[in-house]
C-alpha cells in the first residue's frame, strides 16, 4: 500500500498512521520539531487530501492518500478546488453528561453516571470523536467521522488526560526529537529509531542511552546528532545519537476545561492535575505555531508585557494550531522566573482544532428570505426578483417605463403583501395607540385611516404606516415591510410594560400592561395595491362599484375574495390596497389581471414604485431617513401633535418621543430633507451635495421622472447661516432646491 507524499509514492503497512508511514520512509512532515504522537503538538501537521493542518499522527494511512508539507514560512494555501461543495452534516444530541475522553478516569465517570440513571454521551478522540469546543449551554461540539456532532449536556466532564511537556532548548526544531511516549509508540509500530538517547523519563520498550541531567541543547544539522545535558555537578555532557527521547513531565490537556469557564464543566483524572513546570528555558523555539522564541519572550518582557494574557496577545504564542499545548508551560515558567509569580494558564477559546470551511459551516443556514403568496406569480410573469425589505420581491417585470405609464395613465397592480399588518383591540387599545403614535388617534373615525409616523424615545422616526379604525376599540395597523417585525415587538413591549396608572390600566391587570389583544397578521394576509386613474374601473369590473373614499377603508368582496379595502395613495394616483387571506392572493391577482386586460393593466415592481413615490416625495423610512431623523428635519411636523395630551386626556408622559421632540425643537434646525431637481442623468443615491466648496449633504433618492422630464431627488441639506441653499452642485452639475411634491402638487390625482 502506498500514499503519495510531495508527489512521490511512500509505502506503508496496515495500521500505520500517516506520520508513521512518513517516518518509516525517513520523512518528517513538518521538517523538524519534537513529535508527540498524541495529537498535542503542531510538529506533524500536513495537508492531507486537500485539508491542511491535519495531525498526521492521528490519521490512519490509506492507499492513494495525497500528503504535502506546509510551507516553511506562512500558512498553507487555500485549496484550489471548490471545497465548499463538500457539505458536512451536523447532528444534535441531548444528554445529562458528556464525557470527553475514555481513558481510565473517563470510563469510570461514564460508568458512574450510567449507574446513576443519567443519559451519557462519550467522546473519544482516538475513536474519531474529537471535541473541538465548549460553548454556552453547555454545548460540546465534536468532529466525528459522520460530521459535526453537537452535544447539549447538563454537565461536561473533561477526561482528556495529560500531554507531555516538549523540549524548549537550542536546536529543538531538528528532526529526530521525540517525546518518550512518541518514541515508545513509534518503536512499537516497528519504526527503526536508530540509536536513541533519552533525556528525563526514558521511553518504555525502547533501548536507549540515558542522558542524566538537565537538557541544555540539541546538536545537529537538520537532524539531531547529539543532545547536551548538564549533570548534577554542573558539567555539560554530550550524548551522540540518531534520535533523542525527552520525558520532561506532564501538563493537563485542559484546554476544554479552560474554555468552559463559568459553565458546568469539570475535569477528572490527569486532565485535572497541576501542570509540571519545566525549568525556565534559556533559548530555543517556545511556540513553533507562531514562531516565538525565548528571545522574543525576553523582548516582550522588557517592553512591559508581564501578564500571561498580554504575552499571549503580544506574541500570539498559544493562539496557533496547538493552542498552547507546547508553549504554555514554558511561558508560565519564563514569567515565573522573571516575575517570581507562577501565573494561571490563559483562557482557552473554541476551537481547539482547525476546521475546514465545511465543518465550520455544518448545520448553519443563511437567514431565510420570506416569499409572498404571489412569489410564483411574479416568477411566472418573468419578474426579476430581488431581496428588498427582507423579502423576495419583484424588482421589475422587464419594462419599467411601461409599468410606470400603466400607473400614471391606466391601471396597475403591485404585490404589497410584505407590509406589516396588525390588529389591536380591547379596552386599552386607544390608550395604547395614543401613547405610541404622535397623532390624535381618538380623532380617527370608524372606517377612517390616517398616515402616521412612529417615533422612538429619542423622538426619531423609525417607521411609518397607517392606523385604520375598525370599531370603537379595534384598530388595524400597517407598518413598512422592513420595519414590521420590529414594530410588532415595539407594540407588544409597550402594551405589556408596567405603565403609569394614567395609561388606562385594566382594573385587574395588576399593572402588567394594557388590556389589549394584539394579532400580528403580516405573514397571514396578502395585499395587492390597485393603482392608477383606471383603478376604480377595474374594481368595478371586479364587483366593487363603490370603493371607499380617500383615507377610508371598508370590508368588501373583490373578484370573489373578501378584502379589507384601503383607499390611499403612495404612487400619486388613486390607489386601493386589497388586504386579503394569503391563500387567495394568487386567484385575486390573476382575476385582476384578467379583468384589467382591456384596460391595459400591467403589474409593476419596486423599481417603478420607487420612481412613482419619489415624484410625490413620499419618504421611505430607512432610505430617506437616518438614525437621527426627526419629523422637523423631514418637514413633517404636521404628523406630530405635541398638544394632543394638553391637559385633558392623557398622562404627563404623552406619546413616546414627545419629551425628546420638545427638547430638540428648542435647538436651531441644522439640516433638512429637501426636494432637488436637475437635468439628466440622475446622480447616484448617496451622491454628495455641495454648496460652493462646502459639503452640504447627500442625495437619498434619485430618479429621472418620465412625467416631468427631469431628475427629481430627495436629499439631506445643511442650513448655512440659518438658510437652506437654493443652488447646489451634485456630481459636478448644478441642481436646484424646489418645493415638494414634484408631481401633482395639489394632490388632485391621488385624492380623485
Amino acid at each position: 500500500m502506498r500514499l503519495i507524499f510531495e508527489g512521490r509514492p511512500i509505502e506503508f503497512t496496515a495500521g500505520d498512521t500517516v506520520l508513521a508511514a512518513l517516518l518509516r520512509a525517513g520523512v518528517h512532515p513538518a521538517g523538524g520539531g519534537c513529535l508527540c504522537c498524541g495529537g498535542d503538538c503542531p510538529h506533524c501537521l500536513a495537508t492531507v487530501d486537500g485539508v491542511s493542518y491535519v495531525r498526521t499522527c492521528q490519521v490512519a494511512a490509506k492507499p492513494g492518500m495525497v500528503v504535502a508539507s506546509h510551507p516553511e514560512d506562512g500558512d498553507p494555501p487555500l485549496p484550489a478546488g471548490n471545497v465548499f461543495n463538500a457539505e458536512v452534516s451536523a447532528r444534535h444530541v441531548h444528554c445529562d453528561v458528556v464525557i470527553i475522553g475514555l481513558g481510565e478516569s473517563g470510563r469510570a465517570e461514564a460508568e458512574q453516571a450510567t449507574q446513576a440513571g443519567k443519559r451519557v454521551v462519550t467522546l473519544e478522540a482516538t475513536a474519531g470523536q474529537e471535541a473541538i469546543g465548549i460553548y454556552e449551554g453547555p454545548l460540546v461540539v465534536a468532529r466525528t467521522q459522520e460530521g459535526m456532532l453537537n452535544v447539549h449536556a447538563h454537565e461536561v466532564v473533561v477526561a482528556t488526560g495529560a500531554a507531555e511537556i516538549q523540549p524548549v532548548a537550542e536546536g529543538n526544531t531538528l528532526k529526530g526529537i521525540l517525546t518518550a511516549r512518541a518514541a515508545s509508540k513509534l518503536a512499537a509500530a516497528g519504526i527503526d529509531l536508530g540509536r536513541v538517547v533519552a533525556v528525563g523519563t526514558p521511553p518504555q520498550g525502547v533501548k536507549a542511552e540515558i542522558a542524566d541531567g538537565q537538557l541544555i541543547r540539541f546538536e545537529g544539522s537538520e537532524r539531531v546528532e547529539a543532545v547536551v545535558v548538564r549533570d548534577k555537578d554542573g558539567n555539560e555532557k554530550r550524548f551522540a545519537g540518531e534520535a533523542v527521547s525527552v520525558g520532561l513531565g506532564l501538563h493537563p490537556r485542559d484546554t476544554l476545561l479552560r474554555m468552559g469557564n463559568g459553565l458546568a464543566v469539570r475535569a477528572v483524572g490527569e486532565a485535572a492535575r497541576e501542570s509540571d513546570i519545566p525549568p525556565c528555558p534559556a533559548s530555543g523555539m517556545v511556540c513553533s505555531c507562531s514562531r516565538v522564541t525565548v528571545d522574543d519572550l525576553q523582548t516582550i518582557w522588557e517592553r512591559g508585557f508581564h501578564e500571561l494574557e498580554l504575552v499571549k496577545r503580544a506574541t500570539l504564542a498559544g493562539t496557533g494550531a496547538c493552542q498552547g499545548s507546547v508553549c504554555l508551560p514554558y511561558i508560565r515558567s519564563f514569567l515565573a522566573d522573571r516575575g517570581q509569580v507562577l501565573q494561571a494558564p490563559f483562557t482557552a477559546r473554541p476551537v481547539t482544532r482547525q476546521l475546514t470551511m465545511a465543518e465550520a459551516a455544518a448545520g448553519v443556514h443563511h437567514r431565510p428570505v420570506p416569499r409572498t403568496a404571489l412569489d410564483a406569480e411574479h416568477r411566472r410573469l418573468g419578474a426579476r426578483m430581488d431581496r428588498i425589505g427582507g423579502w423576495w420581491r419583484p424588482w421589475n417585470y422587464g419594462n419599467t417605463l411601461e409599468e410606470y405609464w400603466a400607473v400614471r395613465e391606466g391601471v396597475s397592480i403591485m404585490d404589497v403583501s410584505t407590509l406589516g399588518k396588525m390588529l389591536v383591540s380591547g379596552p386599552g387599545a386607544l390608550e395604547l395607540l395614543e401613547r405610541l403614535y404622535p397623532t390624535k388617534v381618538s380623532t380617527i373615525g370608524i372606517g377612517r385611516s390616517r398616515y402616521v409616523l412612529i417615533l422612538d424615545e429619542r423622538g426619531y422616526v423609525f417607521d411609518d404606516g397607517l392606523i385604520c379604525r375598525d370599531a370603537e376599540s379595534r384598530y388595524y395597523l400597517t407598518f413598512t415591510s422592513g420595519g414590521s417585525s420590529f414594530a410588532e415587538m415595539w407594540v407588544r413591549d409597550w402594551a405589556g410594560s408596567t405603565l403609569p396608572q394614567s395609561w388606562g390600566l385594566a382594573p385587574d391587570s395588576n399593572n402588567r400592561g394594557l388590556d389589549v389583544r394584539i394579532l400580528y397578521q403580516t405573514l397571514s394576509l396578502g395585499a395587492i395595491n390597485v393603482t392608477g386613474p383606471l383603478s376604480p374601473e377595474l374594481l368595478s369590473r371586479a364587483g366593487l362599484a363603490n370603493p371607499p373614499n380617500y383615507m377610508q377603508h371598508a370590508l368588501a368582496t373583490v373578484a370573489g375574495v373578501e378584502c379589507r379595502v384601503l383607499r390611499l395613495s403612495f404612487t400619486g394616483e388613486q390607489s386601493y390596497e386589497l388586504h386579503h387571506p394569503a391563500e387567495q392572493s394568487a386567484s385575486l391577482w390573476r382575476r385582476l389581471l384578467e379583468l384589467g386586460a382591456e384596460l391595459g393593466i400591467k403589474p409593476h415592481g419596486i423599481e417603478t414604485l420607487l420612481k412613482l413615490r419619489l415624484e410625490k416625495s413620499h419618504v421611505i423610512v430607512g432610505q430617506d431617513t437616518d438614525f437621527d431623523t426627526t419629523a422637523r428635519r423631514i418637514d413633517m411636523e404636521w404628523a406630530v401633535k405635541l398638544d394632543k395630551d394638553d391637559g385633558s386626556a392623557g398622562s404627563p408622559q404623552g406619546f413616546v418621543g414627545r419629551q425628546a421632540v420638545l427638547r430638540t425643537n428648542k435647538t436651531p434646525l441644522d439640516k433638512q430633507l429637501v426636494g432637488l431637481e436637475m437635468e439628466a442623468p440622475a446622480p447616484i443615491e448617496g451622491a454628495v451635495i455641495w454648496h460652493g466648496a462646502d459639503y452640504a449633504g447627500y442625495v437619498t433618492s434619485s430618479t429621472f421622472s418620465p412625467a416631468l422630464g427631469k431628475v427629481v431627488m430627495l436629499g439631506w441639506v445643511k442650513l448655512f447661516n440659518g438658510e437652506l441653499p437654493d443652488e447646489v452642485t451634485i456630481e459636478g452639475r448644478p441642481a436646484r432646491r424646489v418645493s415638494i411634491p414634484f408631481y401633482d402638487k395639489e394632490g388632485h390625482r391621488a385624492r380623485a
Partner: protein, 127 residues
Amino acid sequence: MPALNRLPATRIVATPSALDAAIWPPDRLVFRLAADEVLVTPPAPEVSLNDPHALIVSDSGFAGLWLPMKEALAFLEHECEWELPHGRPAFAQGMVAGIAAKLWFEADRVLIIVPAPFAADFEERML
C-alpha cells in the same frame, strides 16, 4: 421533494383566562402559541369565548407537513438544537433549520408548521 401546504386555521387572541376556559371542538388540533394566542386547525370560527374583545380570524399564514415519526426525528436530529419533548402528544415551538417552527408530536407522526412565507426555504432545508 417534501411540500408544506397552507394550513387552514382559526387564529384567536384573547385573554389567557378566556382561552383557558374555552371548550374546543374535539376534532380539531388546538395549539397554544402564547398565553393569549391559539391556533385551531381545521378552522373553528364559531368558538365561544368569554372575552368580548377577542380577535378571532380565519388564518392561512402557516404551512404544515405531517411526517412519520422516524423520518421526523431523523430530520430534527440534524436541524433542531433544542431538546424535543418526550411525552406524546406534545406541542413545542422553536427554531428548526433556522426557521421559527411549531411541532406537534402524536404517537407515530409529527406535524411541522412554519410561517407560510418561509415554507419554500424550509422545504429546501429538508432535502
